[in-house]
């Protein structure tokens, strides 16, 4: 970067940091020094990790890695003390190679924070409503009338649309989704593909808030960059949540839950998603018929495996294109 450009950046009111592909800072403007209380003179050559604290540090490093790897801008959010920032990390390309990344941070206005708070407040009642509807829907067939079943189905679909709208609103404001703080700025067509790692993080975050989780944390083991699945991400997300709900019943022994995803070849390319319940001593309960129907509708296969004392795993095999 030439000196004149740096001079222009120094007049910007928004904090700017420029890094190299190795994760070292090359430049930070005075606005960054002011907001983040770092001595700009000591920035060049310092690891980017040293310029940020806690969760902000991880969010920045993730964004830099993804921006450099994929050559696309990455939006994310971070907090520094009492200040909230929406940020974008954009790769700098020269002669076909990624030679650095520029991070622009924009202080969030109060209104955005308020809408985000509203979104958080909406999530719990939506989850509760979804669970109630699901329980009603799963009542034995002879105890409900066809009309009631139809109404419940309509209500579930309406709730699905509401949740989708709320999630899109959240994503528009933050460029992020739930536990996955990074959203890539891609074309509109990318909305109908499912990125496995982000999907599992969303499912884990939602499931941890349910009563059945009983305070247990859910780990996710999925490499970034797994092949994406075609189709509506909400559909698979809903299926995995129902599978978790069917498994997450309070038990005497505290269990550790791990969600895994990986791709395999086999007769056809497939994505394997497993719900692993470590230490579970019994075989998995039979899956409700509606769950099996949903799995079949996705063209997927479900397999439960158990082995004491390891635990049990419920594996979902989904066909990948190609």
């Amino acid at each position: 970067m030439i000196g004149a450009e740096r001079t222009l950046l120094s007049y910007l009111d928004a904090p700017v940091v420029i890094g190299d592909p190795d994760g070292r800072a090359v430049y930070a403007n005075p606005a960054f020094e002011l907001r983040f209380e770092r001595a700009v003179g000591r920035v060049p050559g310092a690891p980017l990790a040293e310029l940020f604290e806690g969760g902000a540090r991880e969010a920045v490093l993730r964004a830099v890695v993804v921006a450099c790897r994929e050559g696309e801008s990455v939006r994310f959010r971070l907090r520094e003390g009492a200040l909230g920032f929406s940020a974008v990390a954009s790769p700098i390309a020269a002669q076909g190679e990624q030679v650095g990344v520029v991070i622009l941070l924009k202080e969030e206005v109060e209104g955005v924070e308020r809408v985000l708070a509203l979104h958080r407040e909406m999530e719990q009642p939506m989850d509760e409503l979804g669970q109630v509807l699901q329980q009603l829907f799963e009542l034995p067939a002879d105890s409900r009338e066809a009309r009631l079943r139809s109404l419940l189905s309509d209500a579930q679909q309406a709730l699905g649309r509401l949740r989708k709208g709320a999630d899109e609103m959240h994503a528009m404001l933050t460029g992020s989704r739930d536990a996955d703080p990074i959203a890539r700025t891609k074309g509109a067509g990318s909305a109908l593909r499912t990125e496995p790692s982000a999907l599992l993080h969303r499912v884990a975050a939602r499931a941890e808030r349910t009563e059945g989780a009983a305070g247990r944390s859910i780990d996710v083991v999925a490499a970034p960059g797994l092949p994406t699945l075609p189709g509506d991400p909400n559909r698979l997300e809903a299926l995995l949540l129902r599978l978790l709900e069917a498994r997450l019943t309070p038990e005497a022994t505290p269990l550790r839950i791990v969600l895994t995803a990986r791709s395999v070849a086999g007769s056809w390319p497939a994505l394997l998603i497993s719900l692993c319940e470590l230490g579970a001593q019994s075989t998995a309960p039979p899956d409700p018929p509606h769950l099996r129907e949903e799995v079949a509708a996705l063209g997927a296969e479900l397999r439960a495996f158990s082995h004491a004392p390891l635990g049990r795993a419920t594996l979902l095999r989904l066909r990948l294109p190609g």
């Binding site: 994760g23 690891p47 990790a49 040293e50 540090r57 991880e58 490093l61 993730r62 890695v65 790897r69 780990d219 996710v220 083991v221 999925a222 490499a223 970034p224 960059g225 550790r256 791990v258 895994t260 990986r262 395999v264 070849a265 086999g266 007769s267 394997l272 497993s274 692993c276 470590l278 296969e301 397999r303 439960a304 495996f305 082995h307 004392p309 390891l310 635990g311 049990r312 795993a313 419920t314 594996l315 095999r317």
Partner: protein, 187 residues
């Protein structure tokens, strides 16, 4: 083990197998020799030992048997060995969903164990040998890449993010590097 050379691993597995065989723990001995054959299908010592144990050298036609062996190894506390066997079984029969599910279950078990050992991802790994001594360890490329990211301040959870690698692979590598005395984990 990933932090040792393939030849070193073969030698270690052969020796461990003989020791286990001598102790009457035939299943575990056979499991080790089978892993050797995964690394080098023509390894004569492993073929001879299996023949001596009265076990077919090629269990490839019977993936189920290999899964059973792996689970027996896991039950005996040999989780890493079991994972290697299941990895081989699933590579050979990728459509065997029971094998795939057991592989995922064991991986999840090991992941939780590694993570607990690393302070739930909060430990800060750092080199415990001088950088110029690393050459003598004959490390695989991914281990070298991971070591290049260590600065003593970055937490394990952040390394997983920054590396872009499979989270399980990162934790497994770090655990092995620590076991080999190449890396130490600070709180």
């Amino acid at each position: 083990m990933a932090a040792e050379s393939p030849a070193g691993r073969v030698a270690r597995l052969l020796a461990e197998g003989l020791e286990l065989f001598g102790e009457g723990r035939v299943d575990q001995a056979v499991a080790r020799w089978r892993v050797v054959l995964e690394l080098d299908p023509a390894q004569q010592d492993a073929l001879d030992y299996l023949e001596s144990a009265g076990v077919p050298a090629d269990a490839g036609d019977d993936g189920r048997a290999r899964v059973r062996e792996a689970l027996a190894a896991a039950d005996a506390g040999e989780a890493e060995q079991a994972l290697a066997l299941l990895s081989a079984a699933t590579a050979q029969a990728p459509d065997d969903l029971d094998a795939q599910a057991s592989f995922d279950l064991l991986r999840a078990q090991l992941y939780a164990r590694y993570r607990a050992r690393m302070g739930d991802g909060n430990a800060r790994p750092r080199l415990s040998v001088e950088p110029d001594q690393l050459m003598r360890f004959d490390l695989p490329p991914e281990a070298g890449f991971l070591l290049s990211l260590l600065d003593g301040r970055t937490r394990v959870a952040e390394l997983v993010t920054v590396s872009g690698l499979d989270p399980f692979a990162v934790l497994q590598l770090l655990a092995r590097l620590e076991q080999d005395g190449i890396v130490e984990l600070a709180a």
